[in-house]
């Protein structure tokens, strides 16, 4: 029953927020709810690691993988709430775009994502993944400007279409399971499927079909090229905290769904097919995104493309398979979440101070906004996988996997793409931080909350760069044990 | 005994150097139907200069005075490399050709600095031109020596000489011919003789060496003049020792040494004659033809090296 807690707290929070009118109360309520939710997640994770797999009824289930993703979700979410409390001081009052709506929708969004992680049933999972789109669409369109509306529409339509395919994939898997002799009512339960997977060899074609559809469907949500088109728009137009949520949590959420399917498929028909597919998607995303980063003009669009790139790297990690690849991939999702949150918060500050995100209009931050400028540089170093930050470790792990499995092409592609990304970010950020500030904006006092959040991010990144805590390593191993029962862990 | 012998050789070189210069000058004069000065003229020049005082430009630093000394000292040590009468030399036993080339370079480097230190435009001009010539001369110099060294399987000058003495003149390879010509051309450039440079010119714009020493006077100039005389002699002796050492004393008996001295004198005389004839029959090259001149030397030297490898 513990599992119901992290589900109900956000719902209750959303309800309360929707009801109350006083903005100050709203913020407080939001922070309290966040704290409660964090606690609930903590309890859940803890009990997962004490008792192993938790189940509540037929439809809720939590195992090591869940706990890993819940941890990153909780962390990022807490950061986002704290940041928003300082960031959203003046919002355009309008239908669906008031402070209430913001927090209400945010909590609904949170609810849907937690539900994705907790649902035992792939059908349920699909429903909630679709629900994440619905819950966040209004947030993307929050500012209600031309761009916001356009981005929101594209987000809604493109993702819904993509997800629809995922549904078809799910059905195909269901069919395969049923044909494989699994009882229809439990034929979508992940645990059951995992157990029955080796017996599903009969539905070889069907499983492939299922995975293709799922890959395209959830891949749309992960932001694989060429289904990525919604991603830059949504990230660029949403309020910065939401951009952070989308990039750091939602993408992981979709990747989580994909991981579940990949696990079943590769257990049933061997890793060959699904991993090849992931490698293809990952490679293409990596290459295209890294190139497109060169020619971006808008800071947040740039960051969005970097998210695509990193999801590509994660996909490659999973696709390379083996303990090392998966380990690296999971670690990379975590690192990327933190680094990207950090960067989007910084971008939020930039926007607040300069009133624009057009990079050619932003100059001389080193003088006008030393802290933000420094944060931008730190973030760039972190996101390009420089030591001593975590992404260096995870990218090196994935490279190691690539080399040790003799995927030289992938390895070369990855090294090249990373260099291109480095060049692109350097090129853009250098000119923003250096140079003469054309119009030095009045240097506003930075929120204390901002410093807290940034401090936490940097701390996590550096710690993960030089030393992986034993507890966290245990969590990672637990997650891997779920996906690869056979493979022995590093 | 042997040490004394080597010391004698060095002293011989140092003391006879001005004479060689004087002889060349006299011969040239005769060839050009002039009476010419006495062959002892260089000695008197040096002595006269030593007695004069040293004029130093006000702007010059200690380098200006250091340069001639370094030049002289390096030349002395180089002189100690070359066997004259007997197949060994003071440094020649261990001092190899690389050291020889670089010692000359050291002296030249300081002379260039001294020239620039003078603060006139001529000094700079001379140094700049010297830089060009010496830069291009260094490679063929080393390669030519190396080709011989490869043949002798040793790097030390004395070693090469001893090996060569052991060979029969008539079964000599083309390598030596090539190396000899290359080295001769380099020697001309090194010692600043026609057609690369004219030691007796008085037209500043054509000078190289003379332009460098334009500021010098008194003892400093004496050192420079003497050093260049020694250099000329040493290089000639080197050519002889490396390519036609036959007649050197193989044992340290008085008779053998006497014969060796005689032979050496003959060889020297022949070489001097050739030099004089050539200098009075060839015109000085334009500045920018010197690279071509040295290019030929380099080409020959490279060929020499390649042939030594091919003809093993």
């Amino acid at each position: 029953m513990i599992l119901l807690l992290p589900l109900f707290i956000p719902l209750a929070g959303a309800l309360f927020v929707f009801l109350c009118r006083n903005p100050r109360v709203v913020v407080r309520a939001a922070l309290t709810t966040g704290a409660l939710e964090l606690a609930a997640i903590g309890v859940t994770v803890n009990s997962i690691h004490s008792q192993g797999v938790l189940t509540a009824g037929r439809y809720l289930r939590a195992d090591g993988l869940t706990s890993f993703f819940l941890i990153s979700l909780g962390l990022i979410f807490a950061l986002v709430l704290v940041y928003s409390s300082g960031y959203l001081r003046h919002v355009p009052e309008g239908r669906f775009s008031s402070l209430r709506w913001f927090y209400g929708l945010v909590f609904l969004f949170l609810f849907t994502m937690v539900a994705v992680y907790l649902s035992a049933n792939l059908g349920m999972m699909w429903i909630f993944v679709e629900a994440t789109t619905l819950a966040s669409a209004l947030l993307v369109g929050f500012y209600n400007t031309e761009g916001a509306v356009e981005a929101g529409w594209k987000y809604l339509i493109v993702c819904t279409v993509g997800i629809a395919f995922a549904l078809f994939g799910t059905i195909a898997l269901y069919l395969a399971a049923v044909k494989g002799g699994v009882s229809p009512e439990s034929a979508l339960d992940w645990g059951t499927l995992m157990a029955a997977a080796p017996g599903l060899v009969g539905g070889h074609e069907l499983l492939k079909l299922a995975f293709v559809f799922v890959a395209v469907g959830y891949g749309t949500k992960v932001g694989f090229v060429p289904m990525h088109s919604w991603l830059p728009d949504a990230h660029a137009e949403a309020p910065s905290p939401i951009s952070a949520l989308l990039s750091a949590v939602l993408l992981n959420c979709a990747m989580y769904a994909l991981l579940r399917f990949d696990a079943i498929t590769s257990r049933a028909i061997g890793t060959g097919f699904s991993h090849t597919l992931l490698l293809i998607f990952g490679g293409v995303s990596l290459a295209v995104a890294s190139l497109l980063m060169i020619v971006q003009r808008d800071l947040k669009r740039l960051l969005a493309y970097s998210s695509i790139e990193h999801m590509g790297i994660v996909a490659i990690g999973v696709g390379l398979g083996g303990a090392l690849g998966l380990y690296g991939a999971l670690l990379h999702t975590f690192n990327h979440s933190i680094a990207k949150t950090f960067l989007f918060f910084t971008a939020g500050n930039v926007r607040e101070k300069f009133g624009t995100l057009r990079m050619e209009r932003i100059r001389g931050m080193a003088r006008s906004l030393p802290w933000t400028g420094g944060a931008l540089i730190l973030g760039a170093l972190a996101i390009t996988g420089m030591p001593p930050f975590g992404l260096f470790v995870s990218e090196l792990l994935i490279l190691t996997a690539a080399f040790s499995t003799a995927h030289y092409f992938i390895a070369v592609l990855m090294l090249a793409a990373i260099s291109v990304v480095f060049g692109a970010l350097l090129h853009h950020f250098q000119s923003m931080v250096m140079g003469k500030p054309e119009d030095v904006p009045v240097r506003p006092a930075l929120q204390a909350s901002w410093f807290v959040v940034m401090g936490v991010c940097v701390l996590c990144l550096v710690v993960l760069g030089v030393h992986i805590p034993a507890a966290f390593a245990a969590v990672l191993r637990g997650a891997m044990a779920v996906l690869q029962p056979a493979v022995l862990q590093p | 005994m042997i040490w004394a012998m080597n010391a004698v050789q060095v002293l011989l070189l140092i003391l006879l150097a001005p004479l060689v210069r004087g002889v060349i000058a006299r011969l040239k004069a005769r060839i050009q139907n002039r009476r010419g000065a006495s062959v002892w003229r260089p000695y008197s020049d040096v002595f006269k200069l030593f007695r004069k005082e040293d004029l130093v430009p006000a702007s010059a630093s200690f380098v200006f005075r250091l340069a001639p000394i370094v030049l002289f000292a390096t030349t002395l040590v180089v002189a100690a490399f070359v066997p004259l009468l007997y197949g060994s030399a003071l440094v020649g036993v261990t001092g190899d050709f690389v050291l020889l080339v670089y010692l000359l370079a050291l002296g030249r480097f300081f002379l260039m600095l001294g020239a620039i230190d003078g603060g006139s435009s001529f000094g700079g001009m001379g140094a700049s031109r010297e830089a060009l010539v010496s830069t291009l001369a260094e490679a063929p110099f080393l390669l030519a020596l190396m080709s011989v060294a490869i043949g002798a399987h040793t790097g030390t000058i004395a070693g090469i000489v001893q090996w060569t003495v052991g060979q029969n003149f008539f079964q000599f390879s083309a390598v030596h011919a090539l190396a000899f010509v290359a080295l001769a051309l380099v020697a001309i450039a090194e010692t600043g003789r026609i057609p690369v440079d004219n030691p007796t010119t008085h037209l500043e714009l054509t000078m190289i060496h003379e332009a460098m020493v334009l500021e010098y006077s008194g003892p400093s100039l004496a050192l420079i003049e003497w050093a260049s005389a020694i250099k000329l002699t040493v290089v000639m002796a080197l050519l002889i020792a490396l390519f036609v050492p036959w007649g050197m004393a193989t044992s340290l008996t008085a008779a053998a040494l006497a014969i060796a001295a005689l032979v050496l004198l003959l060889k020297m005389a022949a070489l001097v004659l050739v030099l004089a004839l050539m200098e009075s029959s060839v015109a000085k090259l334009r500045m920018y033809l010197v690279p071509d001149f040295l290019g030929v030397a380099s080409a020959l030297a490279i060929l020499a090296v390649v042939f030594t490898a091919l003809m093993r």
Binding site: Y59, F96, N121, G123, M124, W126, I127, E130, A131, L134, A137, L138, G141, N144, T145, E146, G147, V149, E150, A151, G152, W153, K154, L156, I157, T160, V161, A164, L167, F168, I171, A172, Y174, L175, V178, K179, P184, E185, L188, G203, E205, L206, L209, P232, D233, A236, E237, L292, V295, Q296, R297, R301 | -
Partner: protein, 220 residues
């Protein structure tokens, strides 16, 4: 030619033919409201099929699903869309990038294609080939509508058709998924349509038109 005959024959043999007709008609329709009506009709046919199937299998679940589909897809959603069209007070033509006749032929082509497409899978997936083909055809035409029709609302309609297709596929292959899942899916659909309606209004308010092909501010 023989293939076309056979395709036609099979189609006639099953209720799939109605679906094909709705598909063709939607492709041909010039006015949004017509399309909505046709969509409702299409959903009705599917409902009938569900009812038939569940009658065969004597499953109460099936009837529940049928009822739900009836209320949501046949009644609620089309009604909501009608209201939106009314509210918008915007020109009601579908403003397609392909002429109606072209669209019809394309739709027909897609139907044929779907027959080809499902053939290799009939063995694997089982179920009635015509129904499968109809499902795929719905998916394809749904996609076609979304790509070719410029009006925001028509994209919604296209999406709905596509969704119908997938729903039908589920029906054709497995006799419906567990009830809870189905409910969830339909609920999602409902919410989705609601949101899209919302965005349609926003688009109208911000851009003063409903032509999604003109929403090209964000690119690169």
């Amino acid at each position: 030619m023989g293939l076309f005959e056979s395709a036609a024959a099979r189609a006639l043999a099953s209720s799939g033919v109605f679906l094909f007709m709705t598909v063709l008609l939607i492709a041909a329709a010039r006015r949004i409201s017509t399309c909505i009506g046709l969509y409702s009709l299409q959903s009705l046919v599917i409902t009938a099929q569900i009812a038939a199937v569940s009658r065969m299998h004597h499953s109460a679940q099936g009837f529940a699903i049928a009822a739900m589909v009836l209320t949501v897809k046949v009644a609620a959603i089309p009604y909501a869309l009608y209201r939106i069209v009314e509210e918008l007070k915007a020109p009601r033509d579908v403003s397609s990038s392909t002429s109606p006749s072209q669209s019809v032929f394309i739709a027909a082509g897609l139907i044929l294609l779907s027959f080809f497409a499902v053939r290799p899978y009939v063995g694997v997936l089982g179920g009635d080939q015509a129904m499968l083909a109809a499902a795929v055809a719905l998916v394809l035409t749904g996609g076609f509508l979304m790509v070719s029709r410029k009006k925001a609302l028509m994209q919604v309609v296209g999406l709905l058709v596509l969704d119908n297709g997938i729903f039908l596929a589920a029906l054709a292959t497995t006799f419906g998924m567990p009830l809870v899942i189905e409910i969830g899916i339909v609920f999602d659909l409902l919410m989705g349509v609601f949101l899209m309606g919302l965005f349609v209004f926003r688009i109208r308010d911000t851009f003063d038109h409903l032509d999604v092909s003109k929403l090209r501010r964000l690119r690169g």
